[in-house]
């Protein structure tokens, strides 16, 4: 993505008076997408967008990267409230209910309703469609989908006398392996932790959902009106997080999402639980032998499904909707999805993508990329309800207060359940 200075002037003048679109083309799409600092990811989105525009000279499309997931949703909603929504956006799958409640998105199944369309929609992995549908309608198309996976430093495993090809599969094995992996210096300070599970903020709540799934429960259901925050599975999950710190396998206190890959790359932790969307970043920067495994589970494997879907906004003309659909089809086509998946590590959302030569060559080179796909069979929907931001905050507070030692797990979760029920009571 390059920006020349001459563009700056025109952009600036447009910006001064508001972005007015010239009506020369059939449809002018504005496309919001979330992304981190990971520059190759932005560049790939921009390339794909440019290619679509080149193939469809009658349309224009402008890709706008709007910050992290939460910020992008906030931006899209404020823009929609102001009557200038993007036509199409990649937003968190869990924001489905919020977007429906704010009445800003369009059911995609309403506009893509031919038999061919239905067949196309049916071609996505059912796991990813779970949180794209509501009350029998399909509202979103999976794109930037992920599950968290267990990244581990094989060199550290060898050094600790562990089998580098057999990462821990259960919580007990995690604690055993973690004890062996933790290294202290002469002063008794830990220089390398056994593992690292982000516990703070939205990322922490996402991973927590995986722990709960592995204990055979879910945090929310497809109704969007039920939060299952206080269950035996959640209490056991939260206690597991505390146990990791107690056994000195994981650093005590809250653990941030953002620093986690960096801590892994620096060898400050021998393993980490984070999104498969970090694969490319780790591959590029790791200076050691590393592997990827399923998340260690309580009663078996389990993971939350996360990431973002394509949404089309209501305030669009027929031409824009048609163009947006075409754009989404292009972006999720096997060739495009393969490039996106290879550039980042996100799980390509359709089986046909995995059949492409590019993808085959990629998984041959980097078999770690297949783990998230295989794990999909054991994955469940991420925490999503109406008033998602407010309800999730109760869960986040409960996890954070427990891991920082300010509350007992059971009490914290019971408290969060009360708060969530109060908000969701209106919807039941």
């Amino acid at each position: 993505m390059k920006f020349r200075n001459s563009h700056a002037i025109t952009f600036g003048i447009a910006g001064l008076m508001g972005v007015s679109s010239t009506a020369l083309s059939a449809a002018d799409l504005e496309f919001y997408f979330p992304v981190g600092v990971n520059a190759p990811a932005v560049a790939t989105i921009q390339e794909l967008t440019d290619e679509w525009a080149a193939m469809n000279p009658q349309h224009t499309v402008k890709a706008v990267y709007a910050g992290n997931y939460e910020e992008t949703t906030t931006k899209a909603l404020t823009a929609a409230n102001a009557g200038q929504p993007p036509q199409v956006a990649v937003l968190l799958s869990i924001d489905l209910f919020t977007l429906i409640e704010e009445d800003v998105i369009l059911p995609i199944s309403d506009i893509a309703n031919s038999d061919a369309d239905k067949e196309w929609i049916a071609g996505f992995y059912p796991g990813f469609m779970k949180d794209a549908q509501f009350e029998g309608k399909t509202y979103a198309i999976p794109f930037q989908r992920s599950t968290p996976v267990f990244y581990y430093n094989k060199d550290a495993f060898r050094e600790a006398g562990l089998d580098p090809e057999a990462p821990p599969a259960s919580w007990d094995e995690m604690i055993e392996a973690g004890k062996a992996l933790t290294v202290k210096d002469d002063n008794g300070n830990v220089t390398r932790w056994g593992t690292r599970i982000p516990t703070l903020g939205l990322g922490g709540a996402w991973l927590f959902g995986g722990l709960v799934v592995s204990k055979g429960d879910v945090l929310t259901t497809e109704t969007g009106t039920e939060a299952r925050i206080d269950t035996p599975a959640t209490v056991a999950s939260l206690e597991f997080l505390l146990e990791l710190a107690k056994q000195e396998v994981m650093a005590p206190g809250g653990i941030t999402w953002g620093d986690t890959p960096k801590a892994f790359l620096e060898g400050q932790t021998a393993s980490m639980w984070t999104s498969t969307g970090n694969l490319a970043f780790i591959e590029e920067n790791a200076e050691f032998d590393w592997g990827v495994g399923f998340l260690p589970g309580g009663d078996g494997p389990g993971a939350p499904i996360g990431g973002g879907n394509f949404y089309i906004f209501q305030e669009t003309t027929d031409e824009e909707r048609e163009a947006a659909m075409d754009f989404i089809r292009f972006m999720t086509s096997p060739e495009s999805a393969a490039r996106w998946s290879i550039a980042t590590g996100y799980v390509a959302p359709r089986p046909d993508t995995w059949e492409t030569p590019a993808m085959k060559a990629y998984t041959e080179r980097l078999p770690q990329a297949l783990v998230a796909l295989d794990q999909l069979a054991y994955a469940e929907r991420e925490f999503a309800t109406f008033q998602r931001a407010k309800v999730t905050q109760y869960l986040v507070d409960a996890i954070e207060s427990a891991v920082t030692g300010n509350a007992e797990p059971a009490a914290a979760l019971a408290e969060a359940q009360k708060g969530a029920d109060k908000v969701l009571g209106e919807y039941q």
């Binding site: 563009h7 001064l16 508001g18 981190g36 520059a39 990811a41 404020t78 620093d259 620096e266």
Partner: protein
């Protein structure tokens, strides 16, 4: 105890404090000029590079952000200088009913700054359709109570005899303002401009809420969007971007250090 020893001790102490104070910033500069793998492992002899700056510049439309910030601070500064002068002049030179009450009303903004009222100001802006525009970012800041206060204080020091002499020569209200008041307040205008520029160059929360598209984002918002952390964060890249976006202010400050400090003092003290 000898005075000389005392002085050496104090100098060492001062130097250590100053060095510690600058440490986070110096480290950030150091990181920006080195490869990512050194960002958490300081090494004296690590090779220097400007690759981070090039990559950051390519990865986001920083030239657009720079341009937006320049436009934004220009609009606000010009509006501030004109509007605050008019109000201050009216208060100093004329009497009118409820002048005291009106002045108190204006001074409310000193306490309840526009940031406090983001919720309602955002709603106002979206009602008139000015969200996601640079004008929209600027609107709440066009009149500044601080500017009015400062200029009023300054205008009050203008000798009445000068004003009267000009009137005898037949100068009208505007001539008096332009020929007598404005020239005498020149240092204050300069000081206020510096404060205003640095304030709006650095302002973040309100532009964050109001803007959506890159065409209108000022530098601070662009920087925060660039540095968000959903996937792996490269510290060296973020630090390079951070430095890049603040470089003009930093360079200007190093060059004009003495004047800057003197003017800031003037803005505060009067």
């Amino acid at each position: 105890m000898s005075n000389g020893l005392n002085k050496i001790l104090l100098s060492t102490f001062a130097a250590v404090i100053a060095a510690l104070w600058a440490l986070p910033f110096i480290y950030s500069v150091w990181t920006a000029f080195h490869d990512e793998k050194y960002s958490a492992n300081f090494q004296w002899d690590a090779p220097w590079t400007i690759a981070n700056f090039l990559e950051a510049w390519q990865a986001a439309p920083f030239s657009v952000y720079f341009f937006n910030t320049l436009i934004l601070i220009t609009i606000i500064l010009i509006a501030n200088l004109i509007l605050c002068t008019l109000v201050a002049y009216a208060f100093v030179r004329y009497k009118f009913r409820w002048a005291g009450f009106l002045f108190a009303l204006i001074m409310v903004q000193l306490l309840i700054s526009p940031e406090i009222l983001i919720v309602e100001n955002y709603l106002t802006l979206s009602r008139v359709g000015l969200t996601d525009t640079i004008i929209g970012i600027a609107l709440p800041y066009l009149t500044s109570a601080f500017g009015i206060f400062l200029l009023r204080q300054t205008f009050l020091t203008v000798p009445k005899s000068l004003d009267e002499a000009a009137q005898i020569e037949g100068a009208g209200a505007w001539r008096v303002l332009w020929n007598i008041y404005v020239p005498l307040a020149w240092p204050i205008y300069l000081a206020y401009s510096l404060v205003s520029i640095s304030f709006h160059w650095n302002n973040f929360l309100w532009p964050l809420i109001v803007t959506n598209s890159p065409e209108v984002r000022p530098l601070t918002v662009g920087l925060s969007v660039f540095a968000t952390v959903d996937s792996g964060v490269e510290w060296s890249l973020v630090n390079a971007a951070t430095l890049m976006t603040t470089a003009p202010l930093i360079i200007a400050f190093i060059i004009f250090q003495r004047q800057f400090v003197a003017n800031f003092m003037r803005a505060g003290i009067k």
